[in-house]
């Protein structure tokens, strides 16, 4: 199959007045039934649909999206992609994702602008530096790149960073993953959507799921704002709305709390920072977009929320942390801020599993790190749906691990979702 987007097609269409471009995805009406329904047209849902069609030949699939495609967290995150985890289950999964990112633009024939500009975690105490050395060694042990950096090396990499001894939290070193970076989040959603659409998947926007059709315990479809739709398998990839959606199926509690995470972008600046940097004495991360805006964020607001907007205290905190690292940004203006609802799990790790009811499949618990997982999440979830059992990469990410004492708590925070 010739690539739909190429230098040749660009030229050919330009000569024909750009009249023949097809929409990247159709706007079909829902059919009465499908083999698989995926609830949630975000990154993970679209990736799941794409890999169901491509890897498993399951093309009679509908993706149901309440709003418009990519209007949730896939368009709200700060676009960082990394695989710098401590625990083997997380490292294997996120490194699988990283390898998929490295080929994603070719895979999708869609430029997701994946830029391996590195991700640097700053250490501000010798103990923290030791802890980073431990995590770096754990990563390298599993074949992931990691290197420790000295303050002098960091200063060369990020000249604007205050590494002086008079800084509020002087920088004593850092842990760098060079293969980490950023990607254009909208392009990821659109690329997966087009890839799934071209393989026969129906992407149905403005279609809200209002309930589940049941035959005894078994889930046999959904009721929606556009009528009833039956399906052999119903998959849920709704991130922050997981609680609301599974409650429609009668599942009352989940090991998840929904919290709001805010993000910010400044006015466009000339090239300022060409990597992703994170602060070690608080919670702050920043990178620069190709348009020049600094994209940054910090901690979640810290209370349950479905509001997609936060409060001022965390805005103040994030700005303070930015200025602690980059005093030179004091007079840069913030252009926009927004919020997204995060599905904070009880151990900070995701859930990709069959269940909790027969005929149902669940993908959630991404906390605020779901974007980087998009390819592997879709790939593993498609495998799980197609084969009714998890792939080895997502086998540890069960729903019942909490009650069985098998939590995967990378930060060692305990069952306190607002701290993950």
């Amino acid at each position: 199959m010739m690539a739909e987007y190429s230098a040749f097609s660009l030229l050919a269409n330009a000569l024909k007045g750009n009249k023949d471009w097809k929409p990247a995805w159709r706007k079909p009406d829902p059919k009465a039934s499908y083999d698989v329904i995926i609830i949630g047209g975000g990154g993970h849902g679209l990736a799941t649909a794409y890999y169901l069609a491509k890897e498993h030949g399951i093309t009679n699939v509908a993706v149901l999206e309440k709003g418009w495609l990519g209007s949730g967290n896939v368009g709200r995150n700060t676009t960082a992609v990394r695989s710098n985890y401590l625990l083997p289950a997380n490292t294997r999964f996120y490194e699988h994702s990283m390898k998929m990112w490295e080929n994603l633009s070719h895979e999708l024939n869609y430029n997701v602008m994946f830029s391996q500009r590195g991700c640097l975690n700053l250490a501000h105490t010798p103990a923290q530096f030791d802890d980073y050395a431990r995590r770096g060694n754990a990563m390298r042990h599993l074949g992931v790149d990691a290197e420790l950096m000295t303050p002098a090396q960091i200063k060369r990499l990020i000249p604007a960073l205050d590494i002086s001894d008079s800084a509020r939290f002087p920088v004593v070193g850092g842990l760098m993953q060079r293969r980490a970076g950023t990607a254009r989040h909208d392009a990821v959603a659109w690329g997966y959507a087009r890839g799934a659409d071209r393989r026969g998947v129906d992407i149905i926007e403005n279609c809200e799921v209002t309930g589940f059709l049941r035959d005894g315990d078994r889930v046999t479809g959904v009721t929606t704002s556009r009528g009833d739709i039956r399906a052999k398998k119903v998959a849920v990839t709704v991130a922050g709305s997981t609680g609301r959606v599974v409650q429609l199926a009668g599942v009352e509690t989940m090991p998840i709390e929904s919290h709001v995470l805010q993000a910010f972008v400044t006015e466009s600046l000339k090239p300022f920072i060409d990597t992703v940097v994170t602060f070690g004495m608080g919670h702050f991360y920043m990178s620069q977009s190709d348009k020049g805006g600094l994209i940054y964020g910090g901690d979640i607001d810290g209370y349950n929320s479905y509001a997609q907007r936060g409060n001022l205290p965390i805005v103040d905190e994030v700005m303070s942390e930015m200025l602690a690292l980059f005093p030179g940004l004091a007079r840069v203006r913030m252009l926009r801020s927004w919020g997204g609802v995060c599905d904070m799990s009880m151990d900070g790790s995701p859930i990709i599993t069959t269940g909790p009811l027969p005929g149902m499949y669940l993908n959630c618990g991404w906390c605020y790190g779901g974007f980087k997982a998009t390819p592997a999440s879709g790939w593993c979830f498609a495998w799980t749906i197609a084969k009714d059992q998890p792939h080895e990469f997502n086998a540890p990410f069960t729903l019942d691990r909490f009650h069985r004492g098998l939590v995967i708590d990378d930060k060692g925070q305990g069952a306190n979702p607002r701290l993950h």
């Binding site: 349950n304 205290p313 009650h403 069952a415």
Partner: protein, 98 residues
């Protein structure tokens, strides 16, 4: 977000510490019902709407508060002392005021 402390009056949210979901029931400390403990530690109702919560006025009178707050709008619907039998100085003073 303003939370009206029953003792201190309306105060900015920065004075308060979120202590989490107030729907959970802690089993008896001597209980060996692991399912009940697991449910207490890990399972959440996580409603989109009115939510029972525990907050502490850590930057004020330090009282623990039972708050009902809407998770869709952030509106605070009610605030009360954690224990109905609260006998602290703060509570007595609050009652004297009313």
């Amino acid at each position: 977000m303003l939370i009206t402390c029953p003792y201190c009056g309306p105060r900015d949210v920065v004075e308060f510490t979120y202590q989490g979901d107030g729907n959970r029931e802690r089993p008896d400390p001597a209980s060996q019902n692991f399912e009940a403990w697991n449910a207490y530690v890990y399972d959440r109702l996580n409603p989109a709407g009115d939510h029972n919560e525990i907050w502490q006025h850590s930057g004020g009178c330090r009282a623990h508060l039972r708050v009902v707050r809407n998770t869709l709008t952030h509106e605070i619907l009610s605030v009360a002392f954690m224990r109905s039998t609260h006998t602290s100085t703060a509570r007595r003073k609050a009652e004297d005021k009313s």
